[in-house]
């Protein structure tokens, strides 16, 4: 399940959008004990000024991203805008049965987008 964007065009400034990954949808619900799924989210939105500048509490903007946004504002089409990408991620754990009848708990880093930023 993903947060709908208006007309398929990314709406608004760069930010995290909701994306829920359901293990049942992927067909893993028979061997994954928990969780049933997780909020992976994704990044989408404009990185033109002022979006390329960090909001309150957001990670610091890369100077290069601000430079590109400035260049684009001055001379559009030259080199394009910065990209909206994950800036902070967090892990998940998955509890499942493997093919040797073991109960396994695996920890995966960088699976959930907590924050997006212009890079």
């Amino acid at each position: 399940e993903a947060e709908p964007t208006a007309g398929g065009v990314p709406g608004g400034a760069c930010r995290a959008r909701r994306l829920y990954v359901s293990f049942r949808e992927v067909g893993w619900h028979r061997w994954v004990i928990a969780p049933r799924g997780f909020l992976a989210n994704y990044c989408q939105g404009h990185c033109a000024l002022p979006a390329a500048l960090p909001g309150p509490g957001a990670p610091p903007a890369l100077n290069h991203a601000v430079l590109r946004a400035l260049m684009h504002a001055a001379v559009p089409g030259n080199g394009g805008l910065p990209c909206c990408v994950p800036a902070r991620l967090s892990p998940i754990s998955v509890l499942f049965f493997d093919n040797s009848d073991n109960v396994v708990l695996r920890h995966y880093e960088d699976m959930v987008v907590d924050e997006c930023g212009c890079r």
Binding site: W31, I33, P35, S93, F97, N99, S100, V104, R106, H107
Partner: protein
């Protein structure tokens, strides 16, 4: 059916060779594994009382509750359990050796073991030992070789945890495909021998491929 290609790619990204078939028989999930999962999964943790401290994300590649490095915890059942013969119950004979056998084929060569703990449950085959005397457990690998550990067991009621010296069985060598052990539980005072009812191995390993910080440390 063969999972679609994107699902295979995702499985491989998660370090799984193929999609597990699921539990072939109804096997309960050990309470310890539930506990580790609930404390380990930040999204679960966020849903719990620890919600107020977002900074409480667990240290990457470390199993805090067990105090060792690792990002994979396996609860491996004893596959020799059904074949375990009944034990003699008279106190005059020495207590017999009891064997356990663990399938470690799911452990990848790149994984480093950081904890291997036996989870054992015994039951007395006859009248228990005199209070306070207890039992002595010794564990060795099947076949020739030294005793891996000797441990005092005060009572048979609660599960017995016996931590194998990891260096003893995985020194600089990949984890073995299987692990067969011989256990002897001797009463310290004359008493009937105890019988091993259930055995499992809790194995913690670290897969370095899944251990990579993304974000640069803050300047």
């Amino acid at each position: 059916p063969e999972p679609p290609r994107p699902a295979i790619a995702l499985l491989q990204a998660l370090g799984l060779r193929d999609a597990p078939r699921g539990a072939p028989k109804a096997r309960p999930v050990p309470p310890l594994m539930w506990r580790l999962f609930r404390r380990r999964d930040p999204q679960e943790a966020r849903a719990g009382p620890r919600r107020k401290s977002p900074g409480a994300t667990p240290r990457p590649c470390h199993v805090e509750e067990l105090g060792v490095a690792g990002n994979i915890v396996r609860h491996i059942p004893d596959r020799s359990a059904p074949a375990r013969p009944p034990e003699p119950s008279s106190a005059s004979e020495p207590c017999p050796e009891q064997t356990v056998d663990f399938d470690l084929s799911a452990v990848e060569p790149l994984e480093h073991a950081s904890l291997a703990r036996l989870e054992l449950r015994f039951e007395a085959a006859g009248p228990g030992v005199a209070p306070g005397s207890g039992w002595e457990l010794s564990v060795a690998r099947a076949g020739p070789g030294p005793v891996l550990l000797r441990q005092e067991v005060r009572a048979l009621g609660p599960p017995v945890h016996a931590e194998l010296p990891v260096a003893a069985w995985a020194p600089h060598a990949p984890t073995p495909r299987s692990l067969s052990l011989v256990l002897v539980l001797r009463p310290r005072a004359p008493a009937a021998c105890a019988r091993l009812v259930e055995a499992a191995l809790l194995l913690v390993t670290l897969d370095p491929r899944l251990c990579h910080p993304l974000a640069r440390p803050r300047r």
